[in-house]
Symmetry: C2
């Protein structure tokens, strides 16, 4: 089996140069690239690797890792990622990870094998050790130990905005309902900011705040309302949970928005044309997708590209789960 060393020897360049050519790094002269590519071909480097071609040509494929595509936030995000990448002549591999670290690691390995050029990942699994600052990887929301670029919405502003919108409606018995991930990420600021702001205003909220996924949400909500029957405003960590809460309350004879007003987070819609009509802190999903793609492409071009952190603005969108004032 020929090695990278053999390629360097035949091409009469350093090992580092071979590596740079293989990784599409900038700053290598065209005739050097050609020499290395010829050596790779002559030696049949990575013999029997079906993706050998990718070693000397970009795969022009990006992997998109999502918890599940069967979710309106993730499917809208995927829609915009694919739309933008397609215009740039990239293809998108879809990975529903469902928090399976092994599955996610498989896609990380594909980057190392040059079968995909990079990864955009919304991930909640134990892959921290595999995500180096050199890897062309852009994270959504989540922090990694190494300086990995990420895109998130302004969760601090979002939490505050939710509290303001509820308080401005004269609601003073607030609750937060949501789960958090064991993997450190920016979305916990939704909770912290909401709780702090409302407390500062003199109305400290109660909460259901447990590690996800939440089991027995119905029991928890029932218990919360038993202990605090005067709850009149709820901030939910995301819109799908809001839909669950609305349904749970409906079953208990609690009317939304007449008895309780609720604000979610995400701003999801059923399709491009059909809204969910819920009151929510809307993330700029299109902008987040475009930004993630832009950062990833800069990182693919230059593995030494420094960490970028992009925090994008949110806005309140009024729907049927609050009463306009």
């Amino acid at each position: 089996m020929p090695t990278m060393k053999d390629v360097a020897k035949l091409a009469q360049v350093s090992l580092g140069t071979v590596s740079r050519v293989i990784n599409h790094a900038s700053g290598v002269k065209a005739d050097t690239v050609l020499k290395v590519q010829e050596a790779i071909q002559k030696l049949d480097y990575v013999r029997n690797d079906y993706a050998r071609g990718f070693k000397i040509n970009s795969s022009r494929t990006i992997a998109l890792i999502l918890p599940t595509i069967w979710h309106p936030f993730f499917s809208e995000f995927a829609y915009f990622v694919e739309q933008k990448l397609y215009k740039l002549q990239y293809k998108v591999l879809l990975c529903n990870s469902e928090a399976d670290a092994d599955k996610e690691y498989e896609y990380i390995q594909m980057v190392m094998q040059n079968k995909v050029d990079g990864i955009i990942g919304i991930t909640y699994s134990a892959i921290d050790q595999y995500v180096s600052s050199k890897l062309p990887f852009v994270s959504i929301d989540r922090y990694f130990t190494e300086k990995v670029s990420y895109v998130t919405s302004d969760n601090v502003q979002g939490g505050r905005l939710a509290a303001q919108e509820l308080l401005n409606r004269g609601l003073h018995h607030l609750a937060f309902i949501g789960s958090y991930s064991e993997y450190k990420n920016d979305t916990t600021k939704r909770h912290d900011s909401f709780m702090n702001y409302a407390a500062e205003q003199g109305f400290p909220p109660v909460e259901i705040y447990v590690p996800g996924p939440i089991h027995h949400l119905e029991d928890l909500v029932y218990e919360l309302f038993n202990q605090h029957p005067d709850i009149d405003g709820i901030f939910c960590v995301n819109d799908t949970e809001l839909l669950e809460i609305v349904n749970i309350l409906r079953k208990q004879g609690v009317s939304v928005p007449d008895d309780v007003q609720i604000i979610g987070y995400d701003g999801v819609s059923v399709t491009n044309e059909v809204s969910m009509y819920v009151s929510t802190i809307a993330q700029p999903i299109h902008l987040m997708a475009n930004t993630a793609v832009d950062i990833l492409l800069r990182k693919i071009k230059d593995p030494d590209h420094a960490q970028e952190i992009s925090v994008l603005p949110v806005s309140f969108r009024s729907g049927y789960t609050t009463i306009n004032h």
Copy 2:
């Protein structure tokens, strides 16, 4: 540039045999496959094609063409397709075609270039001329001129079931609302079967039945109710349109289900855990995805595999848009 002929000559086999090896057809002896693969490698056949490796090894990649992933039916379908293919060690390329025939054709070309092994397509665009009966392609709902395999739900049964459910609730002023595609497909049977069955029972429905996409749906619905103010039961061609109709009627002060009861088609849900709670004719989305994958893999294994047609059973699912009786 070496040609397939050169490969045949060097391997001392017929041109047809080379073709069969390249296309992973069955019925070629192992030592013949080896001879052909060696000749392909020696000649550097398909020089400079980054996907050359795919010629002698399956890409183990499937393209999934959808109108848009930002839609609960398509994202659930994609979820199950990816889940099943991943277990079989295939990766999935995601294509939001948005009825762009050029984009869809690009993925068909990738099959011909062996960059992807096959396609599962939910398509509404002018690609009929490119979809041969030899192409490893499984269609959902749509018919092609050539004998292309397809998977669909039992649209005849679905239309009848919708009529029965409305009539059984004592509703006698029925309407069908929906669009149809200019590309012939099985879903038009939803309309035909609903209209015929209700008429046979003595209650011929009125209808909005126009080529899609529907513009000015709100005006059309308003006009329909102006002409037929006694409409009490509606069958919608799919669930997302049902959601639009509910919203349009709500704006006009018409209550669902008190004034008008509505049944959709698809059985979509927001996520794996959160339902839409609408009354609908549910397609077996998981089974449809699995069946499409199974048929596609049989076709990839054998390009001569005959057309398969799979019509899968539907069921009525009760939600908030009808009143239980």
